[in-house]
């Protein structure tokens, strides 16, 4: 069954690529707007031979990874702190609900003024956007702690730190992983967006330059690269999640009783 599905998927992908080749060749859309697949592939091959492309890819990945790391650490620390300290949760709920939906792109003008086209501009946007993803999941996760387990730990005289380590953390970890996975995707979107709009060095800026200089196939090739990057990040995050949660029921599957 799995093999059949993979074959069908490959067929779908091939059909998609063939359609991309045929539609402009048949003149259904103008070739200058939508180059055939082979032209895009050619441009992609040219890009990979260009060292500037690899520098841009590196810049994008740096912004993504740094931003994600900062946001994840901050989200986890703040989330655990809010949940563990009494009353803090109730006191911060309204503020979190208010700040979270603020679109991070609202900060673009501020980032431009403060840091220009530096990496720090990108980081400001990436961290703001992905921080909430992690924080919210940590808060949900901590809420999910089994009260019996917590009471048991208390009655055995475990201190706050030990309870965080042995009761709270294992319960919250699946949620944390989901949060980090969502944040990884959001961080990529924001990294490329800020490069595109602000002009910080990276793939986004290259897309912007290709667009203004009418290099349409190159633009599509770069967009394909960002899609592949997103795909890799998704797959990677899922793999890490599965490894880190190998012990957890959701991954292990239900054991027959």
């Amino acid at each position: 069954m799995r093999g059949v599905n993979a074959a069908l998927g490959a067929a779908g992908l091939a059909a998609f690529l063939a359609l991309g080749e045929a539609v402009p060749r048949l003149g259904l859309v103008e070739e200058t707007y939508f180059p055939p697949t082979s032209r895009i592939a050619e441009a992609l091959a040219d890009e990979t031979g260009d060292s500037a492309f690899w520098t841009a890819l590196g810049d994008t990945l740096t912004g993504w990874a740094l931003g994600l790391a900062i946001a994840s650490c901050a989200g986890i620390v703040v989330g655990v702190l809010i949940s563990v300290v009494p009353y803090l949760r109730a006191a911060t709920a309204s503020t979190i609900e208010f700040l979270r939906p603020i679109p991070s792109v609202a900060l673009i003008p501020l980032a431009v003024l403060l840091y220009g086209t530096e990496l720090r501009s990108v980081l400001l946007l990436v961290v703001y956007a992905s921080f909430w993803q992690v924080l919210i999941q940590v808060l949900y996760g901590v809420q999910d702690v089994d009260p019996v387990a917590d009471e048991t730990a208390r009655s055995y005289g475990l201190g706050t730190w030990a309870r965080i380590r042995h009761v709270l953390w294992p319960t919250a970890l699946p949620y944390v992983m989901t949060g980090v996975r969502l944040a990884a995707a959001v961080a990529l979107i924001l990294a490329i967006t800020s490069e595109l709009v602000i002009g910080a060095p990276g793939l986004g800026k290259r897309i912007g330059v290709a667009q203004t200089s009418q290099a349409v196939p190159e633009m599509y090739a770069l967009i394909v690269v960002t899609g592949l990057l997103g795909l890799l990040i998704n797959v990677g995050a899922r793999t890490v999640e599965r490894r880190a949660l190998a012990w957890h029921q959701s991954v292990r599957g239900e054991v027959a009783v």
Partner: protein, 259 residues
Amino acid sequence: MRGLLLRLVFAVALPALLVTVWWVASAGSTDVYWPPLRTILAAFPDVWTAQRLRSDVLPSVLRLAGGYALAAALGVALGTVIGSYPRVRAVCEPVLEFLRAVPPPVLVPVIMLFAGIGDTMKVMVIAAGCVWPVLLNTVEGVRAVDPVMAETARSYGITGVARLRNLVLRSASPQIFAGLRQALSIGIILMVISEMFAASNGLGFTIVQFQRGFAIPDMWTGILVLGLLGFLLSVVFRSVERRALGWYHGLRASARRSP
């Protein structure tokens, strides 16, 4: 009564504290980029007049609504079809995964090629970015329809539109709403970005104009308006969701009470 009061205090205390800190810390600020909060708030009514609300905020919101509605309709319709037929799903899945992985803002330059820089482009950009979370979540939701319920529906001879409405879409609706929520934040991002690229009105356009003109307090008020808009939309979304999924939350709560 006391409980309510306490909740109110908890809800208001931290925001009040933060605003006070901002107010006090920025009061004597001579830094051009961080104007005193007093100045920002004083600029607010001058900048966001009824006329400006009509000429900039309204078009933005209408574009967002148009693109979002288009994405929702398309996503649910396609998602239902793809989710209902395992073979179709197997064929489409890799392509969909790839399309979803493309960061939506890079669609702006592509769609600009086809649709120019008018309203059509902005609505299309918003729809093209929002459709993926809705589509993929609908596929997942439709796929996960309880087989017992599906069998029951079959044995009662429920087919066609009735089956779609009462069984498939209903049991997929929690997933569909999860997708719609993701799509909403993507939609706001795309609304702002598409206006930052090329526009003659709209929130994103206005804020960038202020920033380029070094009208810093005005720019700050724009950021505040965007924040308020994001907050308002999420409140509206939540109330719609609560109404539409009331049965589901009730079901979950009662399941939790009696394990």
